[in-house]
């Protein structure tokens, strides 16, 4: 019974979150518009990967959300290694975006795919370090335990570097604003340049679903997830997730994107040492 409720909660959160994100992004008319349009084929595409990439992106968003506790001690996948499962979702997202750009067999998507792989791989490193730092005070890799460890004080205060660094990761995973090296306008839409019809809608929906998922994980790891007074746990999680989604959309619209080579320098020389610092500070505090 509880499992059924949690499955429902994950599906409902994704659905409502996608609608909210589409409204905030002002993307609803476009999503609906491309849905029924005819599909345009590229020459000699890799059909399997082209068709599966959006589905896998959506599946990874759902998988990521399923390790998030909706109430203290209550997650659909209550794994002792929940953080690592989320990490695997992040790593597979890079591959899905790469295959989405590789499969149409066309120049702009391919450029987007390689650019994204080059940026996405170094983004994984700060992500892992801030997540491990959050696991330190909980002495566990389970997201349920990480929520429990924030009863006194949220991780966003205990580890002030964590959330900002994770938001950079979130922008990269959702192909958004300053970290959108895959689907950016400067390469005519990148990996989705050749998308059309329902496949295009599905890819954009999956992108919004990943925004929901990554925001929920950030809310869980840094903002105490379902913890909060008066209101029930799920409501707190939804509120915090919605706030983070709005922040990410705002950042995506506000912050300019730099060249990939400069972003690589920023990632390796600035963000990676910052995540080391986050890990060291959290480690010393957790001792």
């Amino acid at each position: 019974m509880t499992v059924l409720l949690l499955v429902l909660a994950v599906c409902a959160t994704l659905l409502a979150g996608v609608v909210l994100a589409a409204v905030l992004d002002r993307a609803l008319p476009e999503l609906a518009g491309t849905m029924t349009r005819q599909r345009i084929e590229t020459e000699a595409p890799d059909r399997m990967n082209r068709d599966l990439a959006p589905a896998f992106y959506l599946a990874l968003a759902a998988e990521g959300l399923s390790v998030v506790p909706f109430a203290p001690g209550l997650a659909l996948i209550d794994s002792p290694v929940g953080v690592v499962i989320w990490g695997a979702c992040e790593a597979l997202t890079i591959i899905v975006v790469f295959l989405h750009g590789w499969s149409p067999n066309a120049p702009f998507p391919l450029i987007g795919a390689y650019r994204y792989a080059a940026i996405g791989l170094p983004v994984m490193l700060p992500s892992m370090f801030v997540l491990i730092a959050a696991a330190l005070p909980a002495e566990s890799l389970s997201l349920v335990a990480i929520v429990d460890s924030q009863r006194e004080i949220w991780n966003v205060l205990r580890q002030p570097l964590g959330l900002p660094l994770f938001l950079v990761v979130a922008l990269a995973l959702t192909l958004r604003g300053p970290m959108d090296y895959a689907d950016a306008a400067d390469i005519a839409g990148g990996t989705s340049a050749e998308d059309s019809g329902a496949g295009r809608t599905l890819w954009q929906v999956a992108r919004l679903a990943m925004l929901v998922s990554v925001s929920a994980v950030a809310a869980t790891v840094f903002l105490g997830g379902p913890l909060g007074p008066v209101l029930p746990g799920p409501v707190w999680l939804w509120l915090k997730t919605a706030v983070l989604m709005a922040v990410l959309i705002w950042l995506g619209n506000r912050v300019a994107r730099t060249t990939p080579s400069r972003m690589l320098t920023i990632l390796w020389v600035v963000l990676l040492p910052l995540s080391f610092a986050d890990l060291i500070i959290s480690g010393v505090l957790a001792l």
Binding site: D46, V84, I95, L99, L110, L121
Partner: protein, 203 residues
């Protein structure tokens, strides 16, 4: 039920592993291999080794992405989109494959794995952590430092900047036919870029 899943996942791992040699592109081969490893990782999760199983998925995803990029980069087949044969040195590889299959099969048949089930309350992830950072620490730290040194060495070797100038100075791409003219675009007027006039000789 677990047995059935393990068997299905093992078959999937073997099938995707076989696909690595049957597909005609480096990208497809890399990600077939990744699917094979994901199946192995899932078996790990089913066998009560959640950390090792999920970490396998996580690490193989990153590794195969890196591998796909490097394979495409080093193959004379840009982006891996042209059909190509994925196997070479047939006799040696068949021999190595048969020997490996026979010895691994023998190891499975003749070894006696423990059959005591994992206790339900056992904290396997914490126990693994104590093992890794306790008795096995030296092994893992040695492996870690070796890998790091290899990575630093690979970056230095593949870097274009070097103590004695650009690494690609005077290099020429191989010809499209045996002994033919170098492939790719020819530098105009024997010059190349304005800041290294001195290597005009690679036409």
């Amino acid at each position: 039920m677990t047995d059935l899943w393990v068997a299905l996942l093992a078959l999937f791992a073997v099938w995707t592993g076989w696909r690595v040699f049957r597909v005609d592109s480096m990208v497809r081969a890399s990600f077939s291999l990744m699917l094979s490893f994901i199946a192995v990782g899932a078996i790990g999760v089913l066998l009560s080794a959640p950390y090792i199983g999920v970490a396998t998925v996580f690490m193989m995803a990153v590794e195969m992405m890196v591998m796909a990029i490097f394979m495409v980069m080093f193959m004379m087949n840009p982006a891996g989109l042209n059909p190509m044969v994925m196997v070479h040195q047939h006799r040696l590889s068949i021999g190595a494959g048969v020997v490996a299959a026979l010895s691994l099969g023998a190891a499975v048949l003749f070894s006696r794995p423990p059959d005591d089930a994992v206790r339900a309350e056992a904290d396997v992830v914490a126990e693994l952590g104590h093992e890794l950072l306790g008795p096995s620490m030296l092994i893992f730290e040695t492996a870690g430092v070796t890998l790091l040194a290899t990575m630093v060495g690979a970056v230095i070797l593949s870097s274009r900047q070097g103590r004695f100038g650009a690494a690609d100075e005077g290099s020429r791409p191989p010809g499209l036919s045996d002994g033919g003219a170098p492939a790719g675009r020819q530098p105009e007027g024997g010059g190349g870029h304005h800041h290294h006039h001195h290597h005009g000789g690679h036409g």
